[in-house]
């Protein structure tokens, strides 16, 4: 079963929860805004479903409220910043804004962010850059928690789902935003499938014996309802997207997001989720003497969309189109939440002395 909750009261509730848990009010509102934005875009795996876990991490000291990035290297167009285990929504935003300032000055910039708390939906960052007119490319890794993906040819977990994101502003229209896990599926999508949602792609996992399967038990162990889902218990791994190509891209996320930033590549034994992100920012306006950039992007998008669909009633979409469609629908009809998700958010709220009633009253 699912209920629908409107974005605004859901955002307020999440903000109150984070503030009550110890975040400065501004930060509480910021985290809530990003999470609800993920729901609005249709990426429920990165939305308010994370609230109880984020609060848990805060209590454990895994993530630190009210942090500011520390600039470790500042070399003109290039900087490395340390997130000091602050909320990804806070230190990620600071890192992006530093990158935009530098790209404004130099035409291009690179920011290595290390030791960031969970960066949430990575597509947020190219969207932020594109909203200011900048193109950007982002390679993300974790230092080891969330390691679920086997290298091509292997059957044990060696990488995280290592997302890769690119964004380009497109004049008057919505920006073109690419944001994907370099694994066949992200972990959140497995949870959605287990709950009866969208089925998993064929051969998404590799089992301990090396065979390919769609059985989520190779990730979570026995799914008999006797214990909570724990991705550490399965004997298999998620496979990389696109065979050797995705595996190579994932390794590159480790090298660029982990080794180059100084945050470290995936390793076993980590207890908290720590992201590294290498981001490149480009100011197209600065390079566009002919003033052709926006028009060329718009022309090309129209050309690609004009391809005949495979299915007679199908459509050819652009990166970012599904998100735009979700936003329109969910802004109108509210955000659908599984009962279990909603219940655990309410429990988290009450435990912190926050009354979920206002949001609950808005639920449908």
């Amino acid at each position: 079963m699912a209920i629908r909750v409107r974005a605004e009261p859901l955002r307020d509730l999440a903000a109150d929860i984070f503030t009550a848990a110890g975040c400065p009010a501004e930060e509480g509102a910021r985290i809530a805004r990003y999470l609800v934005e993920a729901n609005l875009a249709g990426h429920d795996s990165h939305g308010v479903i994370r609230v109880p876990r984020y609060v848990h991490w805060l209590k454990q000291g895994y993530v630190v409220p009210g942090q500011t990035v520390e600039v470790v290297v500042d070399a003109g167009a290039l900087a490395v910043v340390d997130g000091r285990y602050g909320f990804g929504q806070t230190v990620g935003e600071q890192a992006v804004d530093l990158g935009l300032d530098k790209a404004r000055a130099h035409g291009v910039s690179v920011i290595g962010l290390r030791n960031s708390g969970h960066l949430g939906r990575v597509g947020d960052w190219p969207e932020r850059a594109a909203a200011c007119g900048f193109a950007s490319v982002h390679f993300v890794n974790t230092t080891g928690l969330g390691m679920l993906v086997a290298p091509f040819g292997g059957r044990e977990r060696r990488m995280s789902t290592n997302p890769f994101a690119v964004g380009v502003p497109a004049g008057e229209g919505p920006p073109v935003i690419l944001d994907f896990a370099t694994s066949i599926v992200a972990e959140g999508k497995i949870l959605v499938a287990i709950n009866g949602g969208k089925p998993l792609p064929r051969d998404a996992f590799v089992d301990a014996d090396g065979s390919f399967t769609t059985d989520p038990e190779v990730i979570y162990g026995k799914l008999d309802g006797t214990q909570p889902l724990d991705a550490r218990t399965g004997a298999g791994a998620i496979r990389a997207m696109g065979e050797h190509k995705g595996s190579g891209l994932s390794i590159m996320c480790e090298l660029l997001g982990g080794a180059l930033t100084g945050g470290g590549c995936a390793r076993p034994g980590e207890t908290r989720i720590v992201n590294g992100m290498l981001s490149i920012y480009i100011d197209p306006a600065r390079l566009d003497a002919a003033g052709s950039f926006a028009g060329e992007v718009a022309r090309y998008l129209d050309f690609a969309r004009s391809a005949k669909p495979i299915e007679a009633d199908g459509t050819v979409m652009m990166p970012g189109d599904p998100e735009t469609a979700h936003r329109a629908e969910r802004a109108r009809a509210g955000i659908p939440l599984q009962d279990s998700t909603w219940t655990s958010i309410c429990e988290t709220a009450r435990a912190l002395g926050v009354d979920p009633e206002v949001a609950a009253a808005a639920a449908q």
Binding site: A75, H106, G153, G154, G210, E243, L249, M252, L256, E296
Partner: protein
């Protein structure tokens, strides 16, 4: 026994010398093409020679060009390749990026209107040999539109490769080099020449139906190549168009472009000096990751886990020893092309060390 790489290089260089390229350019073209054969990427090797020669004849590819700078500051350059050979223009663009990066720690070079720039991994390796990390996005302005968008049947995208390289002291760099489509067009041509099928789920025929017949790709209505990993590769390919086409000013895939009747590449390259960014632990951390990734049990008992670029090294070692296994049709086309540009059979045999 394959053909020796030195002989193949000498023959290739002689062909381009006779096509109007200066000695250094002819050598560079031959070196890049034969290197692609040596590392096992036959689709980007000497199989391209006949088309290059034909394009020169038609004025689509211009010998002896240099890049001209359209925009430049300390960190960025936008350069025009003036339809010159990609092997030479690419080197110039990459070397400009390397020089800028050495000064400032970061550089971006947007290259437009380059002739076919060949195997993109070459450029990541060139940067890595200079000690730099690099990332490259490539498109064509319209001459290589071969790939269907996810959910569509018509060609709208090029093979649009991306590449990235990371240098490591005392060992080969880690280099990822992949087209965003399931199969490079060159590989379909190789399959056609060899008379074999292409892999499943790689191409569709002109009606959007999956097929493994390479001929179906070249018939009317033309077939199309599929993107890797379904919608993910598709989005990556679209972003290659925009980054390498729109930001460089060379243009995204467009049948109406004046450059669409020839292969013109755009490439957006970013160079990062790890010495500026990373601490002393950089290389050690990568070594640790490599060892640990390779320590994963294999999916199949006789399988391997390779780092990106490793398979190329192994192939190169083998082909340096045993020669390059060139299929008969490719060799016949090379010989035919050599004759066309005025090389006698005796020259062809002397240069290549192989009978015509």
């Amino acid at each position: 026994m394959g053909i020796g790489s030195d002989g193949l290089k000498a023959l290739t260089a002689a062909i381009f010398s006779n096509t109007g390229s200066g000695a250094a350019e002819a050598e560079a073209i031959a070196r890049h093409l034969v290197e692609a054969n040596l590392v096992g990427h036959d689709s980007h090797g000497v199989i391209r020679v006949p088309a290059y020669v034909q394009w020169v004849g038609e004025g689509k590819l211009v010998p002896n060009q240099s890049i001209s700078v359209a925009f430049e500051n300390d960190s960025v350059a936008i350069v025009d390749g003036n339809s010159g050979f990609g092997q030479v223009i690419g080197e110039q663009a990459v070397d400009l990026g390397i020089a800028k990066c050495r000064t400032g720690g970061l550089a971006m070079v947007g290259l437009r209107n380059a002739g076919h720039i060949g195997r993109i991994g070459d450029w990541a390796i060139r940067a890595a040999d200079a000690g730099l990390v690099s990332i490259h996005f490539v498109n064509t302005s319209g001459g290589g539109i071969l790939v269907a968008p996810f959910g569509g049947t018509d060609r709208r995208l090029s093979a649009n490769p991306i590449a990235a390289g990371v240098p490591l002291p005392g060992r080969r760099p880690i280099v990822v080099d992949m087209s965003t489509c399931v199969i490079a067009e060159g590989k379909i041509k190789v399959a056609l020449n060899k008379g074999v099928q292409v892999p499943e789920n790689a191409i569709v025929d002109g009606y959007g139906k999956p097929t493994t017949d390479p001929a179906a790709f070249y018939r009317e209505p033309p077939g199309a190549i599929l993107t890797i990993a379904a919608h993910k590769g598709y989005t990556l390919s679209v972003l290659c168009e925009v980054l390498a086409g729109a930001i460089t000013g060379g243009g995204c895939s467009n049948p109406a472009n004046p450059t669409a009747r020839k292969i013109v590449n755009g490439m957006l390259s970013i160079y990062i000096d790890p010495a500026t960014v990373a601490g002393a632990g950089f290389a050690g951390e990568i070594e640790r990751l490599i060892d640990w990734v390779k320590a994963s049990p294999k999916a199949t008992p006789d399988g391997t886990i390779l780092m990106p670029g490793e398979i190329e090294d192994a192939t190169k070692a083998e082909r340096l020893k045993n020669g390059i296994p060139l299929d008969d049709m490719t060799w016949r086309q090379m010989v035919e092309t050599a004759r066309t540009v005025g090389l006698a059979d005796s020259d062809i045999e002397r240069l290549s060390g192989r009978g015509v």
